[in-house]
């Protein structure tokens, strides 16, 4: 079972307490009505499926109930780091440093 660091609780907790919530850093458009059908479809349906670094959302469902973001390597299936919603996407340098 994976251990996941909740950046709100500041604790590593078992995967059982968490739920996956899709790709991170996809902001809902400010004014959806202003978007073309294609733009809206892209927001709604198109997601990354990278081999390697993936930015994703998790929710500490059976803990503090807060959503947060994580960087996970889809090859090794290991968490590189987690951080609070609203914080900047970590830079490749930070990720490289945390991965090593």
């Amino acid at each position: 079972m994976m251990m996941i660091e909740c950046p709100i609780c500041n604790e590593k907790r078992p995967e059982l307490e968490f739920r996956y919530a899709g790709e991170a850093h996809i902001a809902r458009p400010e004014n959806p009505s202003a978007l073309s059908d294609d733009e809206w479809a892209k927001y709604l349906f198109i997601r990354n499926n990278p081999r390697g670094t993936h930015f994703e959302r998790w929710v500490h469902a059976h803990g503090c109930a807060k959503f947060f973001n994580a960087v996970r390597d889809t090859v090794s299936d290991k968490f590189v780091m987690t951080y609070k919603c609203g914080e900047q996407r970590p830079s490749p340098e930070t990720i490289a440093e945390r991965s090593s």
Partner: protein, 991 residues
């Protein structure tokens, strides 16, 4: 009886005889025996029949790698465990076991005719043979196959045993208490930090238990072991866990350990749980899981009496049992020799050592000569004989590539074989550690770690006592060195899987996978038929797919496939190792979650009343809800008709407590509601309610419910019973991640409030005397109003709402008052013939009114337009979740399925929910299906059936005739409005 027992040998207590029963016969063994060793001591080799051919089978191994000797372990009713390996079953006084997979008896098995006709049972036999006629699939083929195939029968009675689950944490977890594991534990014990040492056997020690001649630091191996275990027992930071199998290795050094606590105890001695499953997190894992000896593949290698050389050595040195009196060794590896020497030294005759290698170490030959044992270098085995036990072995000289067809037949009563060793990399592979091929071992060994883990000793491909101890100690954080004397040290060289033969290889049965009866020719056939990947070959031939997961067979199968494909092993692939390492009971996996705790049922505070009053329940999400309350002699149809009639005519009472309830509170609550629901909320007055429709961002209906505004900044939101957690998570998601600027709090209040719904013309009259502080007159408290008040002196939230079309009230009271209030209302309601009703009537009443049930009339692809609910969308709103999607091209396109009502031509015909709809009755099959029935009931009130359906372009087809094809008839119906009853809604206005 015990004529194969060697007095003074082994670790069993030869002063403590115990009696046991196998297939009805009573035998004697000793304390410390396994069922296998005790049977062998009694000269019993035939212990089972094979899976497919029902061939007689004996004991192949001495541990958990056993493939043949599977027995049913009988501890009484509900306590029969099938497929237990006789080699791991600890003997106790009164043990009872039976052989499996034979009829009528082990010695005379009728189904062994399969063996005679084995030419008709090649690889892929099931797929090829039972093709036609189709009508035979489930009537003839499956029952017959099921009856004759398979292993032991599953027990029929409920398991009366208890199982436990718990967690453990440590700094170092060591799997395997052989020399490497014990050395690792000794070193780790000296560091700070908790150490857990687990071993699957009853007695820790591994190979140290069966090599009495080895010396460590001047002590015999067994004495060194005893001293070390004593030291570990005394160390405060060490937990020693025998009879515990590490069944799986998961992410982040998380392992499952299955501990067996009572199976080895006599009847009546057992106290507490039978097994315990530990979930362990460890900082560091040391795998000292050893290696498994490989059988050699030759014709007749499955006969009882043919077994692994290391197993024979273990039976002799650990259990004091000689596996035969005249034994032949067939080997392609140095390690087999010591087993033969030990047996010779224990007064068994070694009739010959047949070594198929062209050259053999001179020291080994000298040792053999010293004992007067003949060694045939460069010989092969081409056949064995013997019906229920091997009686001879035929050996032929190999000259280069040629096998001399003239063989010699050697009489014997056991054949021991050694084809090299396979490191046990199972757990390492579970952890996604990589493997590399070692040509000298002809085996895969660990390469790169994926977790904080290290393999030591034989499981790392490092064979030999000295290296096991040193690498073990090293991994444990020590740098001890050990002075080791081994009688016959060996390395890995010389493994070979299949023995050469002069016979037609397509005709001989040389077994690779003993448990699934897969032969070398099956693998070659699979390759000829075009299978190239080992994953496909495995599934086609079923090699490695039995309960032993190919512990003894996988590498042999792989190499035979590699040769048949003429490609190197590394290009053929390797099948995936999956947990559990050995079969694990469902009890251990269920742990404490058995019986009522298996799938916990949620009950409302009124559930007890419903039960006492004869309710029939149905599961709704995790809840159980009263479906109807049958009176004497009533079936469901009659009960539902009565409950419907009573509610429409006078008064019905219904437990609505399971409704999801969420309180949305804060200065921005109305704005938040505007964004989450299609409806407008800003202008909804305090004390008023509105039906709310929630969409996903994709525009499809996700949930609905009545929402009351208790204050400017406070909404009491209700959701569907099953949707409550989903709706709260959906709200939290948007609130936290999209609009963190909104000052809103969300609280689940589902379980805080019991909800009693009263519906019918007399509802107001009933509740009026109980309600304090609210004027219930229609003008003061109109339909879709809410008040906080007291009911029977208890704080309540009173809603005037209706899901039935009748005058309706929903009283929310703190959950623990639910039943008391229910009983008071029920008592007082008797003057109005108050009738409790369940979910079935709730469904009928709402369907008569055309109210949808989200998840029944919608399926995640239905928009508000499709459902005919455009009225629920706030026309002036510029945004809400799902709004933009309502303008997507696919959603505004023609031809979408839309919700309509159906009226059957024959009013008595009730359609089946889920039935498909077609436009014309006489089409060829498959017909052009245009929709399906979503809800359908008999309406006692209207005297006809009512149904809702999703039909393509349905809204434009009002008045059209559609057809519902059923197996025995074609039902004709008309598309109508979704509202069947009281279209004007006048019944809400009863004074």
């Amino acid at each position: 009886m015990n004529n194969f027992r060697r007095v003074g040998r082994g670790r069993v207590n030869q002063n403590a005889p115990v009696e046991f029963t196998f297939d009805g016969a009573t035998y004697q063994g000793y304390e410390g025996d396994t069922l296998a060793s005790a049977l062998l001591a009694n000269g019993v080799h035939l212990v089972g029949r094979s899976f497919k051919y029902h061939r007689p089978r004996g004991i192949l191994a001495a541990g958990s790698d056993e493939a043949n000797a599977l027995v049913a372990f009988d501890r009484g009713p509900g306590r029969v465990t099938p497929n237990v390996r006789a080699t791991t079953l600890e003997l106790f006084d009164g043990l009872t076991a039976q052989s499996q997979n034979n009829w009528p008896s082990l010695k005379f098995d009728v189904t062994s005719l399969n063996d005679v006709f084995s030419a008709f049972f090649p690889a892929g036999f099931y797929n090829k043979t039972f093709m036609w006629p189709k009508s035979f699939w489930d009537k003839v083929y499956e029952p017959v196959i099921r009856a004759t195939a398979g292993l032991g029968p599953a027990p029929k009675a409920e398991d009366p045993d208890k199982y436990e689950a718990c967690y453990a944490h440590c700094e170092t977890l060591i799997v395997g208490a052989g020399p490497a594991g014990v050395a690792a534990a000794l070193a780790a014990a000296k560091q700070a930090g908790r150490v857990i040492l687990v071993d699957e056997q009853a007695e820790p020690g591994g190979s140290l238990l069966s090599t009495p001649e080895a010396m460590i630091d001047g002590l015999p191996a067994a004495d060194w072991l005893a001293r070390s275990l004593d030291e570990l027992e005394k160390a405060e930071n060490v937990t020693l866990m025998p009879r515990t199998t590490a069944i799986g290795y998961y992410h982040d050094n998380f392992l499952g350990l299955a501990e067996r606590l009572t199976d080895h105890l006599k009847d009546g001695e057992a106290d507490g749980p039978r097994e315990r499953l530990y979930r362990v997190w460890a900082k560091k894992i040391i795998l000292a899981t050893g290696a498994i000896e490989r059988p050699l593949v030759f014709a007749g290698n499955d006969r009882p009496g043919v077994m692994l050389a290391s197993a024979a050595q273990t039976f002799l040195n650990r259990y004091g049992v000689a596996v035969g009196e005249r034994i032949a060794l067939v080997t392609s590896h140095d390690s087999g020799y010591q087993a033969a020497f030990d047996l010779a030294d224990a007064n068994s005759q070694i009739v010959s050592i047949i070594d198929c290698r062209p050259q053999v170490d001179e020291n080994l030959q000298a040792e053999a000569e010293k004992r007067g044992i003949e060694v045939r270098v460069g010989w092969t085995v081409t056949a064995t004989a013997g019906r229920h036990r091997v009686s001879s072995v035929t050996t032929n000289k190999v000259n280069g590539d040629q096998v001399d067809p003239k063989g010699e037949t050697l009489s014997c009563d056991a054949v021991i074989m050694s084809g090299g060793w396979t490191p046990s990399v199972h757990l390492w592979s579970h952890s996604k550690g990589s493997l590399k091929w070692r040509e000298d071992l002809a085996a895969y060994v660990p390469d790169q770690a994926n977790e904080n883990a290290v393999c030591v000793g034989a499981c790392n491909g490092d064979f030999g006592l000295g290296v096991a101890l040193e690498t073990g100690a090293n991994a444990g954080g020590g740098n001890d060195s050990f002075e080791v004397v081994e009688p016959a040290p060996w390395t890995g060289d010389g493994a070979l899987e299949i023995l050469p033969t002069h016979r037609d290889e397509s005709r001989v049965k040389a077994f690779v996978d003993f448990q699934n009866d897969v032969t070398a020719k099956d693998i070659r056939l699979a390759v000829r038929e075009g299978f190239k990947s080992i994953e496909h070959i495995k599934r086609y031939t079923t090699t490695g797919m039995a309960t032993d997961q190919g512990k003894t067979s996988n590498l042999n199968g792989l190499q035979i496939a590699s040769r048949a494909l003429n490609r190197p092993v590394t290009q053929v692939g390797l099948t995936t190792f999956r947990p559990p390492y050995t079969p694990t009971t469902f009890g251990a996996l269920a742990g404490n979650n058995g019986g009522a705790a298996f799938d916990v049922v949620r009950k409302t505070s009124i559930d007890g009343w419903a039960e006492e009053n004869g309710a029939v329940f149905e599961p709704v999400a995790l809840w159980r809800r009263a479906r109807y309350f049958p009176q004497k002699g009533e079936d469901m149809h009659k009960a539902v008709a009565r409950e419907c009639k009573a509610t429409r005519e006078s008064l019905g009472i219904f437990d609505a407590s399971t409704l999801g309830k969420i309180e949305v509170v804060g200065p921005d609550a109305a704005e938040f509601m505007n964004r989450m629901y299609t409806n407008p909320w800003t202008k909804l007055g305090v004390g008023r309610c509105r039906y709310g429709l929630m969409l996903g961002e994709d525009g499809y209906i996700m949930d609905d419910g009545v929402i009351g505004r208790l204050a400017e900044d406070r909404f009491h939101v209700t959701t569907t019973t099953g949707g409550a957690p989903r709706v709260l998570a959906h709200m939290e998601d948007y609130l936290q991640t999209e609009w963190p600027d909104l000052d809103v709090w969300l609280t689940s209040i589902t379980e805080q409030w019991a909800v009693i719904a009263l519906n019918g013309p007399n509802a107001r009259k009933l509740i009026e005397p109980f309600v304090e502080g609210v004027d219930l007159s229609p003008d003061a408290f109109p339909h879709m109003a809410v008040r906080e008040c007291k009911v029977c002196g208890v704080d309540a939230r009173l809603f005037r709402v209706s899901f039935s079309g009748e005058l309706g009230f929903e009283i929310n009271v703190p959950a623990h008052y639910g039943r008391a209030l229910w009983e008071m209302l029920y008592e007082a309601g008797k003057q109005y013939d108050i009738t409790p009703y369940g979910t079935e009537v709730m469904h009928v009443l709402r369907a008569e009114k055309g109210f949808i049930i989200v998840g029944q009339d919608t399926d995640g692809t239905v928009t508000p337009y499709d459902a005919g609910m455009s009225w629920a969308i706030g026309k002036k709103k510029t945004d809400f979740v799902g709004m933009r999607s309502l303008a997507r091209p696919d959603i505004v396109a023609e031809g979408r399925k839309q919700l309509v009502g159906l009226k059957t031509s024959d009013p008595k015909t009730v359609l089946e929910e889920g039935a498909q709809i077609v436009m014309t009755p006489d089409q060829p099959i498959p017909m052009d299906m245009v929709g399906h029935v979503t809800s359908s009931y008999w309406s006692e009130t209207l005297g006809c059936s009512v149904a809702l359906a999703l039909v393509a372009n349905g809204h434009a087809l009002k008045g059209e005739t559609i057809y519902v094809p059923m197996p025995d008839k074609m039902i004709k119906a008309e598309i109508v409005e979704t509202i069947f009853y009281d279209k004007q809604g006048e019944r809400l206005n009863v004074i």
